[in-house]
Amino acid sequence: MNSDDPLATESFQQLVVEPRLPEVLRFLGYPKGVFPPDPMKQSIEQVLTRALPGLEPRGTFSIYAVRAHTRRSLALGSETIAGNIGEFLHGASRVAVLVVTAGRGITELSTEAWGAGDSLAGWAFDAIGSWAAEAAADALTQQISSHLGADEGLTLRYSPGYCGMDLSQQRTIFGLTRPGSIGVSLLPSLLMQPMKSVSGLVGLGPRELVGVNLSPCDRCLQIGCHMRR
């Protein structure tokens, strides 16, 4: 095995995500703990039921040994990722590079609903797709944790486009794993297709070095974001 090769690569064509209304409501724009009254709640629940067959949560990851890192860079395999990510993942001895998607079906459902004039369903399908992409990332992270040794833990998950890494690092991320295996491609504008996709890094290392109780939002400058945790 070449020293630049990943330690492990896995792809999952059917990740398990379980929709919970309170989480979906947050993606619809409701603040934490706020539930719409009926009939709005019923309408949203109906869309959720229709959405489930449209979800195709898939994911892939490759785990690399950290070759080198500084505060502003992280060397994995044959690539070097630039940005504060070097500092954020400083306790990790290995890093999983991941890409997940909720699939294109959910976006198609949203587009159809808008086209038919049902803006509420269009919005709800879209929000469910966003929730499912995040849930797929959580499910894949769970799979990554099966690669932890005794007394090891995972760092938080970091994605290009947030303050740890510029969006241009998408190209590097895509070079380090196999998004094609789950049907995700990167456009010249650095958007991933299908739209409901997420890329990122998660570190693996000694629990005392990686176990921080921060939220990624603590590092984000989008202060007014309705998804802030």
């Binding site: 619809l28 724009g29 808008w114 803006s119 879209d126 486009g161 969006l167 958007l191």
Partner: protein, 211 residues
């Protein structure tokens, strides 16, 4: 003056069928279609906007109210046209070239339609040429550009530059929006305004057409 409270209640509740029924009833009782807009629908949508700003309404409530209003417009637009009244304004809207994010632009379109605007939605990844052709063809007063990521923001400037090169920049107001857009970015590229969300986009559009 006709009492439009039933219509307004239906719009606030986002009940399209009740809103259309109330509008029909008002018209059958002799209400003037323009009055119905000015004293029925407009104040109701203004209240919906206020409730959204105050955090009492959220996007789903905005959408169903806007849908109710849009359906009332379907009913009264032919009557307004007979009186020579024009839509509040005509907006060509799209997500800029290279960007596929639909939903922000869709929300803006839905609320603009609820505000009485005629919207020509060009979809996603729209080239500058397509924006220019639609503005010229539809004689739109406003062109609206949306984007999701900082990497697709430069396409907003390219689109504006294309309007300048085509000699059309003075004939149309340009409004922009999307998660990475700021007022200072709008100023830098010379847009006429920036909408932080769909509700403020409607207020901005009204200002731009002088309503």
């Amino acid at each position: 003056m006709h009492d439009f409270s039933k219509l307004q209640e239906a719009v606030l509740a986002g009940n399209s069928a009740a809103a259309v029924a109330a509008a029909r009833q008002a018209l059958s009782e002799g209400a003037d279609p323009l009055d119905l807009v000015l004293h029925g629908i407009s104040p109701a949508m203004a209240e919906v906007g206020r409730l959204f700003e105050a955090g009492d309404y959220f996007v789903p409530e905005l959408l169903i109210s806007a849908r109710a209003t849009k359906e009332v417009f379907v009913l009264i637009r032919p009557l307004l046209a007979k009186q020579g009244a024009q839509p509040t304004g005509r907006v060509v809207l799209g997500t800029v070239q290279g960007d596929l994010h639909d939903i922000g632009k869709n929300l803006v379109a839905a609320l603009l339609e609820g505000g009485g605007f005629e919207v020509i939605d060009l979809g996603v990844s729209v080239s500058p040429e397509k924006f220019i052709a639609a503005v010229a063809d539809k004689k739109a007063q406003i062109v609206g550009l949306s984007a999701l990521l900082t990497t697709t923001l430069p396409a907003m400037k390219t689109t504006l530059d294309a309007f300048r090169s085509a000699g059309l920049r003075d004939r149309v107001k340009v409004m922009i929006g999307g998660a990475p857009v700021t007022q200072s970015f709008a100023d830098t590229i010379g847009a006429d305004g920036y909408g932080e969300n769909a509700a403020s986009a409607v207020q901005l559009a009204r200002r731009l057409v002088g309503v």
